[in-house]
Symmetry: C3
Subunit: 153 residues, 3 copies
C-alpha cells in the first residue's frame, strides 16, 4: 500500500466529501420515493401483497404488472445505487481530480433518475432504459477498478 495519502482526504472540509454528501442525499431521496410510486400503483390497481392490506378492502391478494414494474425499478436501484454509495466513497479516497469526480457524480445521478423515469414512470422503448442503466453501471465499475488498483499497491 504505497501511494501517499493524507488526512486531508478524510476531512469534511474536503470538497470531494461535500460533493459525496450532496449527491448521496439526492440519490437517497430518489430511492425513498420509489416506495411512494409502488404505493400509488398498488392503490390504483387494487393490487396488494398482504391479506391484511387486501381483505379490509374486500379484495384478494394479487400481483399487477404496473406494480411489478415499479418494484423491478426499485430492486434495480438497490442492486446499483447501494453499491455506488460505498464504492464512490472509496473512489474519493484515491484522491481523484475534483473535475473528474464532480462529472462522474453528476452524470451518475442524472442517469439513475433517467433510468427510473423511463422504466417506471413513463415507459419508453429500449434502448432508453439500457443506456441509462449502462451509464451508471460503467461509472461504478470504473470507480471499483480504480479503487482496487489504488489500494492494492
Amino acid at each position: 500500500m504505497a501511494q501517499a495519502v493524507t488526512d486531508e482526504m478524510n476531512s469534511i472540509q474536503n470538497p470531494l466529501l461535500r460533493l459525496y454528501f450532496f449527491y448521496v442525499a439526492i440519490l437517497s431521496l430518489k430511492m425513498l420515493l420509489m416506495s411512494v410510486l409502488t404505493g400509488l400503483q398498488r392503490f390504483k390497481n387494487n393490487a396488494f401483497a398482504n391479506p391484511e392490506d387486501a381483505e379490509p378492502r374486500k379484495l384478494k391478494v394479487k400481483t399487477n404488472e404496473d406494480v411489478e414494474r415499479v418494484r423491478r425499478a426499485h430492486l434495480n436501484d438497490l442492486e446499483n445505487i447501494t453499491v455506488f454509495f460505498i464504492v464512490s466513497y472509496v473512489y474519493l479516497m484515491t484522491n481523484p481530480s475534483i473535475t473528474l469526480a464532480t462529472t462522474l457524480f453528476r452524470v451518475y445521478t442524472i442517469a439513475r433518475i433517467a433510468h427510473t423515469l423511463v422504466y417506471a414512470v413513463v415507459v419508453i422503448p429500449q434502448p432508453a432504459r439500457a443506456l441509462s442503466w449502462a451509464v451508471g453501471y460503467f461509472i461504478t465499475i470504473f470507480m471499483a477498478v480504480k479503487s482496487i488498483m489504488h489500494f492494492l499497491a
Copy 2:
C-alpha cells in the same frame, strides 16, 4: 457550499459518530436475523427455493406464504434501512443538535424493530405495519432533505 464545518464532525470522538456506530450495529444485527427467520419458516413449511435444498429431503421446490411474508419484510428492510445507513451519516455531517439526532436514531430503530415484529413475527392488523413503516420513512426523508439543503449551499 457556504456553511461552516469543522473537522471535529468527522472525528470518532464526536458523540454523534458514536451514536451512529451504535444504532447502525443494532440495525445491522436486526437485518441479519431476518435470514434466520426465513430459514426457520423454510424448514417449518418444507418450502425451499432451490432443487439442491429440496431434493435431498424428497421435496419439490415450492413457495409458501409464511416464507414469502418474511422475505417481504426483509426486502422492506433492504429498501429502507440500507438508505438510512447512508443518509443518516450524511445528516450527522450537517451538525444537528445531539438531542434531536439521538431522538431520531432511537425512534427509527424502535420503529424498524416494531415493523419486523408486526409484519413477520406476529402478524397484527393494519395500521400497525403502516405506522411503524411510516415513522422510519419520514425520519429518513427528513434527513435526506436536511442534508440536501445543507450541502446545496
Copy 3:
C-alpha cells in the same frame, strides 16, 4: 460510551481503513458482475422480464430457472454484503487487532466469492452453498455484536 478512542482510527493512513477500502472495492465489483451474469442467462434462455425487452425479439415475457437462480444469488448478496459494508466499518472503529481484522476481511471476501460460484455459476450440491454463506454470515454477526458491546459502554 467509555472506551478510549483516538482520531487515528478515522485517519486514512490507518492500515485498517486501507484494508477496508481494498476489500470493499473487490466485493463491490463482485456484486456488480451479478448483473452481467443475469443478462447472460436472460439472453441464453430468451427470458426477459419486461415487454419492451421481449417484444422486439418476438418473445413473450417469461421466467426461467437459470435466470431466477442468478437473481437469488444477487439478492443474497444484497442481504448480506450490503450489511457487511456498513458493519465492518463500524467494527474497524472498535480498534481491533490488525491481524484479526485482516483475516476476517480476507475470509469474508473468499467466502462470498465461493458462495456466488457454487450458487450461480457451477451449481454444486449442498452443503457448499450453506457453508460459504454461513462463514460470511457469522463473521458479520461477530462484527455486529462486537460493535454493539463496544459502543454501548
